[in-house]
């Protein structure tokens, strides 16, 4: 599993909301490629980036592609570390219940279904950023 990954530690830092700009949508393309190339991939959602994960996104009225189902597919690509900053959620009046329930299956634990979203504090975010080999911000 990714914990024993020999690749570089790639962190995708998501600070922007979806739809208003294309960054969130196009960044997911890079995430999938990095995972396919067997890098140790994680995603960080801070500031307005937490809005990317809200459940119930429906773009019919705006005529844009709803790309939010792609987050649920990340587990299939062994992307199991989605760090969401607690303070960013709280500042926006959101809780974990407002976000999609995202899971992955742990090969080393008899394919047990586990949560992908890991709630972290702002202080933990500081440390996570420092641990990375590559930081891609979108």
């Amino acid at each position: 599993m990714s914990e024993e990954n020999d690749g570089k530690k790639f962190m995708f830092v998501n600070r922007r909301a979806p739809y208003g700009t294309i960054y969130a949508q196009e960044s997911l393309e890079v995430v999938l490629i990095a995972a396919a190339l067997e890098q140790d991939v994680s995603l960080l959602f801070i500031d307005d980036g937490v809005f990317q994960l809200t459940k119930g996104q429906n773009t019919e009225g705006v005529g844009m592609k709803n790309f939010s189902p792609a987050y649920a597919a990340l587990g299939d690509y062994d992307v199991s570390k989605l760090y969401v900053e607690k303070e960013s959620l709280e500042e926006r009046g959101l809780t974990l219940d407002d976000l999609q329930h995202l899971t992955w299956e742990d090969e080393d634990d008899d394919w047990a279904e586990k949560d992908s979203i890991r709630l972290v504090s702002r202080d933990e975010v500081k440390k996570l950023i420092e641990e990375q080999d590559v930081l891609l911000s979108f």
């Binding site: 500081k126 950023i129 420092e130 930081l135």
Partner: protein, 102 residues
Amino acid sequence: MAILHTVNKSPYEKASLESCVQRSDAGAAILLIEDGVYAALAGGAKADLVKAALADRKVFVLEPDLKARGLADQALIEGVESVDFDGFVDLTTQYDQVNAWL
């Protein structure tokens, strides 16, 4: 590990610098580029952001961007260091990784 953070937004328009200051660790460096350089002005209402960072981090400002904006003679917050593009490159070698707060 110590990270070089780049910020290219004016703190008077966007919260990028605040976000960076809140989430950069002691020993890190912040380089203000493009419209980020407005944060380095001593007299500004948002000067406290850079001052807070200077407590345990270094703060640099890209001089060509200051000059382009007519700010070369303005007083900068004490402790902020000016670099040119050569200095920008050197900073990327002195710190372990670079993170852009776009």
